[in-house]
Amino acid sequence: MKVVNFAHGEVMMLGAFATYVIWTSTGLNPYFVMFISMILIGCFGIIIERFGFRRVMGTGKLNEIFLSLGLIYVIQNGVVILWSDDIKKIESPFCSNTLDLGILNITYDWLIAIGFTVLILICLHIFLTGTDTGRALRATSQNHEAAMLMGINVNRIYMLSFGIGAALAAAAGTVYGILSPFTPYMGTIPGIMAFTVIIIGGLGSIPGAIVGGLLLGIVQNFTVFFYGGAWKEAVAFIMLIIVLIIRPTGLFKGD
């Protein structure tokens, strides 16, 4: 959509907290709660778009950046005030079950996480290429004015894309919360890292996002293994700078 929300990581963190709060108060299966929090956070994303980003649209990209900086501060510290900054963990019912593959054990949660990722990517691909709304979304992304002339309700498309983005972030946050403990500060770096992945992979290219994400993950973990944890974030940005110098369009060409 060519709209950048640096606070996307914060939305993800909010998703994890929404799941955590509903899970602790009702005791439902966290994987089921995930869908509830996806809907809730999706609505939150729509609200952000409607009352925030739409108002600054067309007044320069800088205002979008500043608005998301403000959102980072508000969401992060709002969550700290509401639910304190203790380390929290969502316990899934499968947390003790592992799949034995001989040389390595995988917990069911990791398998479910991988399954969800693949499922979401396939659904997203089908939605974007197969449905009218998805095509309208891509058209709006390519050319805002032309899409408007073709009778697409551009404002609704923007709201929809923000909602979907926020809902997916909530799913990611929940999975993150199940796999590892989290705090209100968990979101900022992954949120910005997500842009790094997208730029490395190529802007607007979904295969690029997958390859970029895998590549970054592998490089990051190898770096941590060989040079220590201090380099975990730094290496992502070193990679970003190298990619931007050598191949500014990213590894894959998007549409």
Partner: protein
């Protein structure tokens, strides 16, 4: 924005307001004897300097999200130099110069980038700097080894950058001395930003910000002016950092933190982005508010309030407080 408008705005310089503010600034330490308040005022001047440097870069269309990197470079370099027993004046200037040099290198990477690509790279650069400082012992021992292999004996302390360090004994010690030091550097910074904005360089910056393609068609050397903006801005940021280190008694990698990167953004937007007075007004208002909330014990909620202020300003007051103040000035002084 046409050149005529730019000229018309700069000739109506708010001279009276500024000289009044300078006068108040000069008299204040006589009236206020509380060291704590003086310290807060010094911090305010520091943030005004830092915001002014960020504002200069944003004026040329390049909004950095990791300006703290240069603050840190200035602080660390000057502290190392002063600890070696070299005069603080040389230390401060070399800290600023090295920050400007690193800024030039980063600027070369950023020349082709715009908006959030640029933001991402600058943000990442600050994070890379934190990793470099935290893991510096590896590099310093590597430097030692290389020198020893060539045959020059070199034994730098591998831990000289690790953790927090500092405390060098500058010649000036009392808060009043620091107050005047920061006041005069702040005035010099703001004045030079004012002069730059009115000069040919300033017009080139504004032209690049408004429309890069048109500016290059009119004969503005975009790469050159973008790099000039980066160098001047990072020099100022490095200078502020170099002054901050002795004032704060110690420095640690916190100087590179996101907080220090985002503060000047919030301050400049509050005051008015792209104006000379913006960082001054914004720095005063936001920093005094920040410290007041700190005194009231709102350590988390003040961050929340800062975020709400930023969002409301972007939505409803995108030009900041400056137009408001201009209106009041016009009413008072004709």
């Amino acid at each position: 924005m046409s050149v005529k408008e730019l000229l018309g705005r700069s000739t109506k310089s708010p001279f009276i307001i500024y000289s009044l503010m300078v006068l108040i600034g000069l008299i204040l330490p006589v009236v206020i004897t509380d060291d704590f308040i003086i310290r807060i005022l010094i911090l305010t001047f520091f943030f005004i300097m830092f915001s002014a440097s960020w504002n200069l870069l944003a004026y040329s269309g390049q909004a950095s999200l990791g300006h703290a990197a240069f603050l840190g470079i200035g602080g660390f370099v000057s502290t190392i130099i002063v600890k070696e027993g070299i005069s603080p004046i040389i230390g401060v200037f070399s800290g600023a110069l090295i920050a400007a040099f690193v800024g030039l290198l980063l600027g070369i990477i950023c020349v082709r980038l715009r908006e959030w690509f640029l933001g991402l790279v600058t943000f990442g650069f600050a994070i890379i700097m934190v990793a470099l400082i935290n893991e510096s012992s590896v590099f310093i021992s590597a430097i030692n080894n290389i020198f020893n292999m060539i045959g020059i004996s070199c034994s730098l302390d591998p831990d000289m950058l690790g953790g927090s360090f500092g405390i060098y004994s500058p010649n000036i010690v009392s808060p009043e001395h620091y107050y005047y030091l920061f006041l005069f550097t702040m005035i010099a910074t703001v004045l030079s930003v004012h002069l730059i904005f009115r000069s040919k360089i300033g017009f080139a910056f504004a032209a690049i910000r408004e429309n890069e393609a048109e500016a290059s068609m009119m004969g503005v050397d975009i790469t050159r002016y973008k790099l000039i903006a980066f160098m001047i801005s990072t020099f100022m940021a490095g200078f502020a950092g170099a002054l901050f280190a002795p004032f704060n008694y110690f420095i640690n990698p916190d100087l590179f933190s996101i907080h220090y990167s985002f503060m000047p953004i919030i301050m400049t937007i509050s005051g008015g982005i792209g104006t000379v007075g913006g960082p001054v007004i914004g720095g005063l208002v936001i920093n005094l508010l920040w410290e007041q909330m700190g005194i009231m014990g709102m350590s988390i909620s003040r961050l929340l309030i800062l975020g709400i202020i930023l969002i409301l300003e972007v939505l409803f007051l995108p030009k900041g407080l400056m137009p408001l103040i201009k209106k009041i000035r016009d009413r008072c002084f004709g």
